[in-house]
Amino acid sequence: METSKRLTRRSLLKASGAAAISVFLAGCSPAEREAFFRRRFKELTPDEIRDMLAREAKACSERYGKPVTVVADPPLEGVLYGYGLDLSRCIGCRRCVYACVDENNQSREPQVHWIKVLAMKKEGGVNIMGSDAYYNPALVPESEYFYMPVACQQCRKPPCVSVCPVKATWQEPDGIVVIDYNWCIGCRCCMAACPYDARHFNWSEPQVPEDKVNTHMHYLGNRPRPRGVVEKCTFCIQRVRQKKGRYPACVEACPVGARKFGNLLDEQSEMRHILREKRVFIFKEDLATEPRFYYFYAT
């Protein structure tokens, strides 16, 4: 009888927890409150998505001082993206790396690069242990090296997706593995699972100069990431998910035409031609991740 009136540890925690939450929520704007209580991306109704994109666009516009559009274009029907990279052409110039940084609003400080170009001795073949990502000669290509750019392989059986404890990353019907940055808890299990070192963690607040921001953003792609989440290549989802869509930025930037991109379901696409005609291999085939990223030798 007396105990019910007494202040127990449980009731104290309850009360102080409720108080903390109400204080926190009182300090939030309505937009932040909505974002906090948002459901997972795939459960949102079209109306909710529209409101959410408008909120995101407004926040980004204010943050960078220029009009920003944020879209969430859904996957196209009958499209399965595939990527080809001609190892016999790549000269290791890293133009793709920086085109990707500019297109996808990657953090300049601390530095995040979605593409990593590995230089390997020709005599050793594809040997990751003997590769060097930090080569810096005056001129490339160096005659005894070949170069192998690596980014997300967009696996058909992505280990990063299966390990995510909160289902913040998933594979879309068009094959692109995406991340909901608002749902990611930053546990970095996916980074440990990825055999291609393709995922990158934002250890501190990403810095993108205002004049360098790409204002055409996709919600699941190149919108600015918060601190403490994981990000990776999305095949430039903001470009390719449009009818008559543009090629990914790295494809357009490549000065030697080593990078190819197309729809694997389209008989006429470049990718199908490559798979038909060229010597193709997939990276770390033995891990059964089944990438949609094909390395090939055109000559």
Partner: protein
């Protein structure tokens, strides 16, 4: 002299000596000039008789220290830096420095090639006041108002109508050094650099100048007076005399020719048609032909001998079928632009009379382009469609006692009907217009002129693709100063898509090749070091087996040639490359070889092979990589 000296140095207790130094003597006039009213020579402070370092006071040398700009030692009141006591008792001084280099102790004048005369002679004080003045750099007078003019009297340009900006404001030093220079005339920079430093508009950008006037490259003052002139743009002479000072051949042509184009004559001017500095067109033409010519001939033009020339603009507008040279933009294919011997300034012989017995040399004008066999062969089927069966009707009309000239039946500029056939011919003195009544039918045609009764002819029908007339080999390139660009529609033979390719990346000013490779240039197929032209080409493309004419067409340089000798336009050069590199060609068609831009499921942008590969050395040159990522232990 004594009074002025007294005014300046006045130390009344002691007489003033002459020996106060060359410096003082030289600077005097100027000093007195700027010192304002001289101090009264009345009873004032006594000259000191002992060594003193305090020279300037209210009573002595007061004017020296009241200047806007003061010489350093004066400002610091260190008069003895420059003046040395010769005889303190007499208050007599001498200069501390040698006469020929009075200021050189401090102001190091390292002489270059060209030295201003006062500097050479040590007369620094001709321009500078050694103590100070009211003008910049302690000059004795305002440079904007006559400092330079005090010696350079010929440089008084105030009477000229047009004066160069810096001269007007007296800013001689905008162009000239005051002391010495490595350039002639004491210029700050080489003359042309100096001019284009301000007049940037006369320097062509690489993509907008096919022709540049030679003096623009190194000799602006060849035409322009750098200071002033009575002519606009400070020209040294009026056009055309100015132009004739170099272009003597044109002057001679105009002086000696019976027929002179009015704009080319002295009362006209060269700049009506030619730009002065540079042009996107050849020969510094202002506009492409025929617009250039139509800028005057868009109205009836009276000639000096009283004839009236047609309104050519209206003629071309009203008559849709234009003669080839006009279509290709070349009035000068038939007419001399400056002067000539023939009527209507024609460049080659053509009978002025309407009826003229046929002699091929009389018709040279037409047969510069058209094949003479058109009229020389009585029979033949491949020459012209004006034939009845295989009977050549051109031959029939021309080869008569009373032969007709070409223009009896054909318009020379533009017409309503096909083949430039005229509506009518002016006949006789009464002004009768003799109608020709030409009709074209699917299998031939008919005429019903005043010359004869209606006659018909049959040629079996003309295929749409065949040319109307047979032209001499390479004539198109010869006629046109700017031949039309090769078609930009490459149309790949196999594959379904159409591949629009951007225009070939020619080096500026190089194409059309026939601009230099005209028939007068003999073909040299020898493997050799290229000296006269194309010296920059280093062949690294199967050079063991190939040489220029394996890919370039000796018969018509404006196209390439396939291995079998058939012409390939530059805009479709991939067909040439495909002969050896078939695998690359197939990949390129599929969109797998080459830089890929455009839309992944739509229109892809294709490039020619030569947009990426130098056709003479196709292997890529190495390029510097972008910086490596920041990494542990690798940050350099």
């Amino acid at each position: 002299m004594g009074a002025r000296r007294t005014a300046f140095f006045w130390p009344p207790r002691h007489s003033v000596g002459w020996a106060c130094g060359a410096l003082f003597l030289l600077g005097w006039g100027a000093l007195a000039g700027v010192a304002g009213s001289p101090p009264s020579s009345g009873p004032a402070a006594q000259k000191p008789t002992t060594v003193s370092e305090q020279c300037a006071s209210e009573t002595c040398h007061a004017s020296i220290v009241n200047r806007k700009v003061m010489h350093g030692p004066v400002a610091q009141k260190k008069c003895l830096e420059c003046h040395r006591y010769d005889d303190p008792a007499q208050h007599r001084f001498k200069s501390a420095f040698p006469k020929e280099q009075p200021c050189g102790q401090c102001h190091d004048m390292k002489h270059k090639a060209v030295v201003h005369q006062p500097v050479q002679e040590g007369k620094c004080t001709a321009c500078h006041d050694p103590h100070g003045s009211d003008f910049k750099n302690s000059l004795v007078a305002d440079p904007a108002h006559g400092l330079c003019l005090s010696c350079h009297k010929q440089a008084d340009y105030s009477k000229k109508k047009f004066v160069h900006g810096p001269v007007t404001t007296g800013t001689c030093n905008a162009c000239h050094e005051a002391h010495f220079s490595s350039q002639p005339k004491l210029l700050l920079q080489p003359a042309r650099d100096l001019c284009v430093g301000c007049h940037k508009e006369v320097v062509p950008k690489t993509d907008e100048a096919l022709s540049v006037h030679a003096p623009v490259k190194d000799n602006c003052v060849g035409c322009h007076d750098p200071h002033a002139s009575d002519l606009k743009y400070e020209l040294k002479q009026a056009a055309p005399d100015l132009c004739f000072s170099c272009h003597k051949n044109v002057k001679e042509l105009l002086a000696t020719s019976p027929v002179v184009h009015k704009v080319g004559s002295p009362e006209g001017g060269c700049t009506g048609c030619h730009a002065s500095h540079f042009s996107k067109l050849r020969k510094l033409e202002r506009l492409p032909q025929p617009q250039e010519c139509l800028s005057c001939h868009d109205r009836l033009v009276k000639t000096s001998d009283g004839r009236t020339l047609s309104d050519m603009a209206a003629l071309l507008k009203d008559n849709p079928v234009h003669h080839g040279p006009i279509r290709l933009g070349s009035c000068t294919a038939c007419h001399q632009p400056h002067a000539g011997n023939r009527f209507r300034l024609l460049i080659a012989d053509y009978p002025a009379e309407f009826y003229a017995p046929f002699r091929i040399e009389q018709y040279e004008l037409c047969f510069r382009c058209h094949v003479p066999d058109l009229v020389l062969q009585p029979r033949g089927v491949g020459l012209t469609w004006f034939r009845d069966g295989d009977k050549n009707l051109h031959w029939l009309h021309v080869n008569q006692q009373k032969g007709r000239t070409c223009r009896a039946c054909h318009e020379v500029h533009a017409s309503q009907r096909a083949f430039h056939v005229r509506e009518s011919v002016p006949f006789g003195s009464g002004g009768w217009l003799l109608a020709i009544n030409f009709k074209q039918t699917p299998t031939g045609g008919s005429c019903a002129p005043g010359c004869h009764a209606q006659k018909e002819y049959a040629n079996g029908g003309r295929p749409q693709t065949a040319p109307a007339v047979v032209l001499q080999e390479g004539v198109m390139a010869r006629v046109a100063p700017e031949p039309p660009k090769p078609p930009v529609k490459p149309a790949v033979e196999q594959g379904t898509g159409e591949f629009p390719v951007p225009a070939p990346p020619f080096s500026p000013g190089l194409f059309p090749c026939t601009g230099c490779h005209d028939p007068s240039l003999t073909v040299n197929a020898e493997r050799r070091a290229l000296r006269k032209a194309h010296g920059d080409i280093e062949l690294r493309h199967d050079e063991q087996h190939r040489w220029c004419l394996d890919c370039h067409n000796a018969d018509n340089r404006d196209v390439l040639r396939s291995a079998s000798g058939s012409p390939i336009p530059f805009a479709e050069s991939y067909r040439l490359c495909a002969q050896c590199h078939g695998d690359k060609y197939r990949d390129w068609q599929a969109g797998v070889h080459g830089k890929r831009t455009g839309e992944w499921d739509g229109r892809k942008n294709y490039l020619l092979c030569v947009h990426c590969h130098n056709p003479h050395a196709p292997k890529f040159k190495p390029i510097p990589p972008l910086p490596p990522p920041v990494g542990p232990g690798h940050a350099e």
